[in-house]
Symmetry: C2
Subunit: 504 residues, 2 copies
């Protein structure tokens, strides 16, 4: 059987894209069994097919050994496991095009895979889909440091890109906990949001151009670096957030904003959620254009993460924590604004205690805790994670409701997220997966969110885990049009099957 | 024949959506004759059809009198004239749906029309398409002043919306010269950019949701007000910038940023274009996050506008002018940043002279000139206008080239636009339309722009005037996919025919 395993710890700030499994007990159940899915009528990979792939990619970039393929079949939260026999590692758009064209002809299903940091099973196969791992498409193509336009290949790791553009006085317009592993192409394909959407906007706004390969191998070249280009339909948006089901993103052009000259971080303890909301309103008003992040995490989010990963928490215990960050062009002005805000809100009682710092190592210590809340949830335990959008006034209501509903069937229920975007992450931690808890959670969470006109997936996407819940957020007419577009772009349905759209 | 006409002057800051034509000499040639277009095989409107429309809308909202219909057939720059016999004025999404469903069955072509402020003939018919004027769909539906989400009907005038949200401490995320007439639905359908894209981003980033009606009458409801919603394909983007050819936008949800507490405007004279660019770089660095607009206009842009519309120019004559605006949350901080910038750049010689003001009436006086550059071009003259994106370093090169190429065949050639977006507007003013000048301009301008990897239509769109030039900005694969999507969404091709996509 598969080799050994144990996932003891997570490297700080990184979600593991390729974990080496060393204990059989850590290998999750097959998705097809766990979720009772029926294989669709695709062809199966034959020796001839493997030979073809080797003729295109060479021997080295076609993995077929069970051991080599295993980790590509499993998502990092160990929720989903596919049964692929082949991993392909193209190095160019042309190779991707050749592979897809062949698979389309042969009716071989394909699962495109970036950094494999998703949490809805979108980036691992369900059955024996060929894994098209894009990690070797990882070159920066160009950077215009005046306009801020970066052009790069799909497999570039977000953090590496950020380090690169910082050398040119720019930053990437998105930042998320998985930055050390996630790929820009995966970010684009899933319309990733992250920590600073509040300030720098979403990817539909900041992606300037895309090159993508359709299921039949056609390369769609919309790789312009222009901020404005109203010539025909804005095709690039079809590939943003469609999770690899309409095409495989191979190159991305993206607008990088100027690196702030001054960065300051505030980390505050707050008495209750109502006061977190009031603090957000006050920050928006007092800090205005320099506010770059406003994150909230409840006590269990922070304390369990600090404990499990042995990270120091710079302030003592509070029911709620707020992480607030400013990006500005004048340190004195920013400090003055922040000081005024802090003085007022200590006086008003919205902030109970806290710390403000501009020291990179201290800021990093706080971000380390925040960004590891999700990864910490899987260390030695099983994690259910939800990612919802809600009206601000109802934002936190669901957490106490869930605690009551689940009682001692689980270890912890906690909530954290991006207040300014109305985006709450809900984590439910338990010793191991049980159907009982799964059924208490789903569709309950989606029903609650839908009743409040929220989104059942704010930024994590639909993937494999949520297609049958998508109707909680999208109506029949929209789903009908989505299906038509899928059929148009991928008539044989080979791209990332079992994902995003539910069966009719 | 048609009644009378003369368009003597333009009301300041407004492009005229419905000009009353009082002199036959002002009625432009029919587009079909001027541009030698062949009518496609649609049905023609019969008495029965008019009766059906009256049964849906009532007598008052179906215009068929020649006099009443005329102004809806002509675009405001008097370049295009259609031959429609019927204007329909729906008041609800249901009415739009009923009309389109009927027209689709009957193969009657439809031209959706917003404020009719476009400059590429996209919002007027070419032959006898039914004009679907959306001006009565003009209600605000809701405003959440914490999240900033505004929901409104398609026919709301941009300036009215801005006035409305300002009462709640917010501003619209876009602003353009035509704001007094243009509709939010038209803005969305054409992906309008405008003056503050630099700061508040584009509509793909700020539109939260859309309700649109497909050609067959199906209502596509993607009208969520959430900042983040990754559930399925992001359909709303299909309707942003597709110029009414894929569906008719009926409602819009849009994110409104906070109204700045402090607004300051700088209006500067600059010696040459190279220095305009240097000044932009300096402003980005010195003013950072408070920079909300950076516009450039050459001497002829400003002086001709000031002269024709009798608007005072607050500073004397310079080869180039820069209008720079800041939006901030602390007046003292902003003034300090701006003062430092001004002192440095007066000393460096980048700024020759100028004025800085926070007085609303004085700021308005400067914006009045800038926003009337385009309208002023049509007062008593014929205007060719281009709207291109270019790399910054090549931004202005084409203006002197055109002056040389056109010589005294035209009155004036001038350039102005949004430096930060690489977006240049080129105006060519002449006594009346001549084919000779038209042929000197097109495709020359597009060839020059294409050679620099620019866009032949940065924000004005493709409309009727540019489909046969679209290949200068989009390749075969992209055009092929656009055609497939058009066929999918509007199989009978009834929506805004002769626009956006070229004939195969």
């Amino acid at each position: 059987m598969f080799k050994v395993i144990k996932l003891y710890s997570i490297p700080a700030r990184h979600t593991p894209s390729l974990v080496k499994y060393r204990s059989a007990s850590q290998i999750p159940q097959l998705s097809s069994e766990k979720y009772k899915v029926k294989r669709k009528d695709f062809s199966t990979v034959q020796a001839n097919d493997v030979n073809y792939f080797k003729s295109v990619l060479g021997e080295d970039r076609v993995l077929t050994e069970e051991d080599d393929v295993l980790s590509f079949n499993i998502d990092w939260i160990r929720n989903c496991r596919g049964q692929s026999k082949v991993v392909l590692k193209p190095k160019s758009t042309e190779e991707v095009s050749q592979i897809l064209s062949y698979c389309n002809e042969r009716r071989l299903a394909v699962c495109p895979q970036g950094g494999n940091t998703g949490v809805v099973g979108g980036s691992v196969p369900v059955f024996d889909e060929i894994i098209l791992n894009l990690g070797l498409l990882n070159k920066v193509i160009s950077l215009d440091d005046i306009s801020g336009a970066l052009v790069c290949e799909t497999g570039c790791v977000l953090e590496k890109l950020d380090n690169y553009v910082r050398q040119h006085g720019l930053i990437m317009p998105l930042d998320l906990g998985a930055k050390g592993s996630c790929h820009i192409g995966g970010n684009v394909s899933t319309n990733a949001g992250g920590l600073r959407l509040l300030r720098y906007g979403n990817l539909h706004g900041s992606v300037l151009g895309i090159e993508a390969v359709k299921a039949d191998g056609t390369v769609i070249d919309c790789l312009k670096t222009l901020k404005k280009d109203n010539t025909g339909y804005h095709l690039k948006h079809l590939f943003i957030g469609s999770e690899g089901t309409l095409g495989v993103v191979t190159k991305v052009a993206i607008h990088c904003p100027a690196m702030p000259k001054a960065v300051t971080l505030g980390y505050f303890g707050v008495e209750n959620f109502e006061k977190v909301l009031q603090l957000y309103k006050s920050a928006k008003s007092s800090l205005g254009e320099i506010l770059s992040a406003f994150e909230m995490a409840d006590f269990d989010s922070i304390s369990s993460t600090a404990r499990i990963l042995n990270l120091p928490n710079p302030i003592s215990d509070f029911p709620f924590y707020v992480i607030l960050e400013t990006h500005g062009s004048d340190e004195d002005h920013d400090k003055e604004k922040l000081h005024r805000f802090l003085t007022n809100e200590m006086k008003s009682g919205l902030i109970l205690d806290g710390t403000i710092t501009s020291e990179p190592s201290k800021m990093q210590a706080v971000w380390n805790i925040r960004e590891n809340i999700a990864p910490a949830g899987i260390v030695g335990t099983y994690l259910f994670t939800f990612d919802v959008s809600l009206p601000m006034k109802n934002y936190y209501e669901i957490i106490p409701k869930l605690r009551q509903r689940l009682g001692n069937k689980v270890n912890l229920v906690f909530g954290f997220g991006h207040i300014g975007d109305g985006n709450l992450h809900i984590n439910v931690v338990m010793p191991e997966y049980t159907r009982e808890v799964a059924e208490l959670l789903e569709p309950y969470v989606f029903e609650e969110v839908s009743a409040l006109q929220g989104s059942i997936s704010a930024e994590h996407g639909v993937g494999f885990r949520k297609p049958h819940y998508i109707h909680y957020s999208k109506d029949r007419s929209a789903l009908g049009l989505m299906r038509q577009i899928k059929t148009l772009m991928d008539p044989n349905g080979i791209l990332n099957p079992y994902k995003v759209l539910p069966d009719e």
